[in-house]
C-alpha cells in the first residue's frame, strides 16, 4: 500500500504544471471560502458586541427585540420588579441601550451608542484604561470606549466636555471592551438614570433586564416565568445566536455571503475537477500499463484517491495559510476590518475541499476502472 502511494505521489508531484494548476485551484477556492465566511463571522461577532461586552448571563427583552441590540423594544418598569421576584434570580438590573447625537467642536453631529448601567450596581461596566469608575456618578459623567470609532469623537481625554442631545457631558473615564461594534458609532457608558434623562424615549425605558441566576439549573425556570410575563429571557449565547441567525437568514449580508461561498466552491470545483480529470486522462495509458503489469483495480483507486486527497490537503493548508496571512495583514492596516477565523469556517472549508476532491477523484476513478489493459497492449 505505502509503496504504491509513493508512486502515486511521484506521478502527481512530478507533473509540475498540472500539480501547480490543481494547487492553485484548491488554494484559491479554500482561500475564498475562508475569507468569505471569516468576514461574515467577524460581522456576526461585531453585531453581538453589546451582548458580549456587557456579558450578563440572562437577557430579558421584548420578544420582538431579538434581531439586534439596536432594535430593542423598551419594557415597562414592572417587568424589572416581576423578574426580581422570580425564584432563582440572584439579582436583576435594568440596562439602557440607545443612540444619541454628540455635537463636535466644528458644529457637526456624530451619532453615538449610549449604554446606561444600573445606578446601584453598574452591572456590565467596562474595564477602564483611565479614570475611576465611581466618577460615572459625577455630574454629567460619561465613559468613552477607546475602540476604532474613538477618533470620531475627536479623541476625547478625561475632562473633555461635549454636548449630547443638548445636554452637557464630560468624559470621566476611558474604557476598553472585548469587541467593537458593527455600526460604526462610538460608545459612551453612563448611568441608567442619566441615560433615560438625557435621551428622549417612549413611556417605557428599560431596554433589557439583566439577570444573574443563583445557579445555572435555575435558568429554565427563570425563562419559563419570564415567558409567562409575556417577555423573553435568553442566555448570553442564545441571544448572540439569535442576532447571528437574523443576519444569516434574514438580511442580504447572510444571503450574499452564502451565495459567494457557493460560488467560490463551484469555481474551485470546476478548476480542480477539470484539471484533475485532465491529469487522469493524460495518464490513462500509464494507468492502463500499470493494470497490464498486474496492478489491481482497487490499487489504482487508492492511487487516484491519494492524489486527489493529497492535493486537497496541501491546497487546504495553503488556502488557510493565505487567508490567515491576509486577515492578519489587513487587521494591522485597517482597524475597521472585520474578520474572524473560526473553527466552523475552517471545518466548512475543509468539508468543501473534501467534496471537491471526492468529486474530482470519483470522475477519475470511474475512468480508470474502465480501461482495458488490452487496449494499452494493442497500442
Amino acid at each position: 500500500m505505502k509503496q504504491i502511494l509513493i508512486l502515486a505521489y511521484k506521478l502527481l508531484v512530478n507533473d509540475k504544471g498540472k500539480y501547480f494548476a490543481l494547487l492553485v485551484g484548491t488554494t484559491f477556492s479554500v482561500f475564498l471560502i475562508v475569507q468569505m465566511t471569516s468576514s461574515f463571522a467577524g460581522i456576526l461577532t461585531k453585531a453581538s458586541a453589546t451582548v458580549i461586552n456587557i456579558g450578563a448571563n440572562i437577557w430579558v427583552m421584548d420578544p420582538a427585540a431579538t434581531n439586534s441590540v439596536l432594535s430593542n423594544v423598551p419594557m415597562p418598569d414592572y417587568v424589572l420588579d416581576a423578574v426580581r421576584s422570580i425564584n432563582g434570580v440572584k439579582y436583576a438590573v435594568p440596562l439602557y441601550s440607545g443612540t444619541a447625537l454628540v455635537k463636535l467642536h466644528d458644529g457637526t453631529y456624530q451619532a453615538v451608542s449610549v449604554i446606561g448601567l444600573d445606578d446601584s450596581s453598574l452591572v456590565g461596566r467596562p474595564k477602564l484604561l483611565e479614570g475611576d469608575i465611581d466618577d460615572i456618578f459625577a455630574e454629567n459623567g460619561f465613559i468613552v470606549v477607546k475602540d476604532e470609532e474613538f477618533p470620531k469623537l475627536e479623541n476625547p481625554k478625561i475632562g473633555t466636555e461635549f454636548e449630547l442631545n443638548d445636554y452637557r457631558g464630560v468624559i470621566v473615564g476611558i474604557a476598553t471592551v472585548p469587541t467593537g461594534g458593527l455600526y460604526g458609532t462610538p460608545t459612551l457608558y453612563t448611568t441608567y438614570y442619566r441615560a433615560i434623562t438625557y435621551i428622549p424615549s417612549m413611556r417605557f425605558t428599560i431596554s433589557y433586564v439583566l439577570v444573574q441566576p443563583k445557579a445555572d439549573s435555575d435558568i429554565p425556570y427563570i425563562k419559563q416565568q419570564v415567558a409567562r410575563l409575556g417577555y423573553l429571557a435568553l442566555t448570553n449565547h442564545e441571544y448572540q445566536d439569535a442576532i447571528s441567525s437574523y443576519l444569516e437568514y434574514k438580511t442580504s449580508i447572510g444571503t450574499n455571503t452564502l451565495l459567494m461561498t457557493i460560488i467560490s466552491f463551484l469555481v474551485g470545483l470546476s478548476i480542480c475537477g477539470q484539471t484533475f480529470y485532465t491529469f487522469i486522462i493524460e495518464n490513462l495509458e500509464h494507468f492502463g500499463a500499470l493494470k497490464a503489469m498486474g496492478a489491481k483495480g482497487r490499487e489504482l483507486v487508492y492511487v487516484i484517491l491519494f492524489q486527489a486527497g493529497f492535493t486537497a490537503l496541501v491546497g487546504y493548508g495553503l488556502g488557510v495559510g493565505l487567508s490567515t496571512l491576509l486577515i492578519t495583514a489587513a487587521k494591522l492596516r485597517l482597524p475597521e476590518y472585520t474578520s474572524r477565523l473560526t473553527y466552523t469556517n475552517l471545518s466548512l472549508a475543509f468539508l468543501m475541499v473534501l467534496i471537491i476532491a471526492s468529486i474530482s477523484g470519483y470522475a477519475g476513478v470511474r475512468r480508470v476502472l474502465k480501461i482495458e489493459p488490452f487496449e494499452i497492449f494493442r497500442g
Binding site: 509503496q3 508512486l7 500499463a289 497490464a292 498486474g294 489491481k296 497492449f377
Partner: protein, 232 residues
C-alpha cells in the same frame, strides 16, 4: 516429462456481435517450452497481439484454455490473474509505455513496487537491471531523454526486474533501426533467455528471425505452420 511453459488449447477470440462477429483468433492450439524463444509472426491484423494477450492474462478468451506451467489460467479469479501478470509475466509493450515523469530507474522498479517491495530495495535491483542492459549511467534521467533503442532497453530491464518466468514482447523492433533491433534481440537471446524461462516474441521483422528457436506463423487468426528458427 517436464510441464510445458505454455499450453494453449483451442483458443478463440472474437469481436462484435451477430452478423458483425469477426474472429481475431480462431481455434489456436500450441505449446511453448521452457528455455525456448518462440516467435509469432504474421501480417498485420492476423491476431498476434490478441493471442499474446490471452496467454499473458490480459485478455479473456471467448473459449479455449491456457495453462501456464500446468496451471489453468483463465479459471482463476481476477485478483489471481492480476497476480499472475505481476509475478509470472514480464511485458515489453509495443510502444514501451514508460512513465515520462519518473526516472529511468524508477520506471524499471515499477513491477517491484507493485509487488510491494520497498523503494530502496526496488531501486537498487532496478539499477542492477539497468547495468545488464548497459544503461547504468542513465538511471537518473527521465526516459524521454533517451533514444528509441535505449528506451527499448529500459522496457526490457523493467520486464525482467522481478525475474518473471515468461517474457512477452510485442513487436519489440518495430520502431528501431535494423542494427539496433538486431542487437537488442540478440542480447535478449543471449542474456535473458535461460533454461527456466520462456520468451514469446511477436514480430514481422524478418531481420531478427535468426534469433528465434521456433517460429509460429499466423494468418487470419489461425496458425498456418511452424518453422525452425535458424532455417528461415
Amino acid at each position: 516429462m517436464p510441464k510445458a511453459a505454455i499450453v494453449a488449447d483451442k483458443l478463440n477470440k472474437w469481436f462484435g456481435v451477430g452478423e458483425a462477429r469477426t474472429y481475431a483468433v480462431k481455434e489456436v492450439s500450441f505449446e511453448a517450452n521452457w528455455g525456448e524463444m518462440l516467435y509469432i509472426v504474421g501480417p498485420s491484423g492476423s491476431g498476434k497481439t490478441t493471442l499474446l494477450s490471452m496467454i499473458s492474462g490480459i485478455l479473456r478468451p471467448n473459449s479455449g484454455s491456457v495453462a501456464i506451467d500446468g496451471r489453468d489460467l483463465w479459471s482463476q479469479s481476477d485478483d489471481e490473474i492480476a497476480d499472475f501478470r505481476l509475478n509470472t509475466i514480464g511485458f515489453v509493450f509495443q510502444d514501451y509505455h514508460l512513465f515520462p515523469r519518473l526516472t529511468t530507474a524508477e520506471n524499471v522498479a515499477i513491477p517491484l513496487i507493485l509487488q510491494k517491495r520497498n523503494w530502496g530495495d526496488a531501486l537498487s535491483t532496478a539499477a542492477q537491471c539497468l547495468k545488464i542492459v548497459d544503461l547504468a549511467d542513465k538511471a537518473q534521467l527521465p526516459p524521454t531523454k533517451l533514444s528509441g533503442g535505449e528506451q527499448q532497453r529500459v522496457a526490457i530491464a523493467r520486464a525482467i526486474v522481478h525475474q518473471p518466468a515468461i517474457l512477452v514482447f510485442d513487436e519489440p523492433t518495430a520502431s528501431l533501426d535494423g542494427d539496433t533491433g538486431r542487437k537488442i534481440v540478440s542480447f535478449v537471446k543471449a542474456e535473458i533467455l535461460t533454461s527456466k524461462r520462456c520468451i514469446i516474441l511477436v514480430t514481422h521483422d524478418s531481420r531478427i528471425f535468426e534469433y528465434s528457436d521456433r517460429i509460429m506463423e499466423m494468418e487470419d487468426g489461425r496458425i498456418t505452420g511452424f518453422q525452425q528458427g535458424q532455417t528461415v
